[in-house]
Point group: C2
């Protein structure tokens, strides 16, 4: 919108705390085709990721947003790369390296159909009895475990429906990322998925920090401030073992 354009215009040349820092943000779902009309996807509006991209831009960062299909308008003044599948998101993210920080907010499908059928599968020809799956590339893990040119700060997101903190802490260790932003996406009235508000736990090397419920814009600004602080301070872990 106009307000965003104006914000981008005035902030572009400002010497914000993240100026000259390159940041990758992935956002939205990935869409994994079964055939030309059917697909598997994850629920993700892209709102939180787009808000983070805008907040980082507002602190002066040079932002690349690699995004699956969403209905959100990308913030002005950032590089936007649109993708469909996890494999495309992986390639686009790697192609845009190097980054000082990677914020992996996208709800990447862990699996895709083993075979993508080029023609619509017809029910009357036997149809589909099951969809064999194969694992997708793991973008967060790949970036976290880079041995050369690893972003100084790699941040993952964990959307969980049970034992949020336990699963999120395990994910941080397993992926090798620096921080995890965890949230509960159990279905319900206040579900973050698709909504405007979010209640997150930030998990860093220093422990867990529960943030109160706030708008996705506020989560984004608070996270961007923390990123600016981390990139200003002493160098973080450069590469996972």
């Amino acid at each position: 919108d106009i307000a965003d354009e104006i914000e981008a215009f005035f902030l572009k040349d400002a010497a914000g705390p993240l100026s000259h820092r390159r940041v990758l943000v992935t956002a939205g779902p990935t869409v994994e085709p079964i055939d030309p009309v059917r697909f598997i996807a994850n629920r993700s509006s892209g709102k939180q990721g787009y808000a983070i991209a805008a907040a980082l831009r507002n602190l002066g960062a040079d932002v690349t947003l690699v995004t699956g299909p969403t209905n959100e308008k990308p913030p002005a003044g950032i590089n936007v790369v649109r993708v469909q599948t996890a494999r495309e998101m992986m390639s686009a993210s790697e192609a845009a390296l190097p980054f000082d920080c990677a914020v992996c907010c996208a709800a990447v499908a862990d699996y895709r159909p083993e075979i993508e059928t080029p023609h619509k599968i017809k029910k009357e020809r036997g149809g589909l009895t099951d969809i064999p799956l194969t694992e997708n590339p793991d973008i967060l893990k790949t970036l976290s475990k880079m041995t050369e040119g690893r972003p100084r700060l790699v941040i993952g997101f964990a959307a969980e429906t049970d034992d949020v903190l336990g699963h999120a802490e395990a994910k941080r260790n397993r992926k090798g990322c620096d921080w995890i932003v965890a949230n509960d996406v159990s279905p319900g009235e206040h579900c973050a998925m698709g909504g405007e508000r979010n209640t997150v736990i930030l998990i860093t090397e220093d422990g867990d920090e529960e943030w109160p419920e706030m708008s996705k814009g506020e989560v984004a600004r608070k996270l961007a401030d923390r990123i600016a602080g981390a990139l200003k301070g002493p160098a973080l872990v450069k590469a996972a073992e």
Copy 2:
């Protein structure tokens, strides 16, 4: 939008050719959950169905729109029922009977995961190797084969990627519907899926009629006119054998 509201306001009490006719329009995709975050769906923007609902309203019809999740704003002055799954779409359509005409434009998933897992399936716990599927209810066929209270005119849509006419004619026979609106959804620059334009073939008891490429609004107006003509004329087949 405002223009649509004004159109609806002025048309509401007008004695259009479809006034006092009840019409069902189904639109959009259905979304079939695998777990709280993953789902299977069909590609469908809902644009064609929403345009048809508006065009029928403009001819005075009492329209019920049963719609899967889309980004389209529903036309003013019609009854809107929002659903997620094929089973919900079936129930909502049956609950709103009787209708003079049913326009089954939704891209209903033929299949759904056999089991919907209430918690997010974790990759590290063995994850997913395949998704066993089960057949969804067939809304078009169910309405077409009603032995009592069948809508006088039941219209199906056939989105095909190859042998469009052959598949669509076979679909008309198999489902027992009166008309089929067929289109080619092969991926490509001019793909109807998600786009603003459409090239369709109308298949009726009288044969096939290829319409030139036009906007989805124009397809909707032309189809609404044909529906008005059909419902004015002598009674059509009331029930399939």
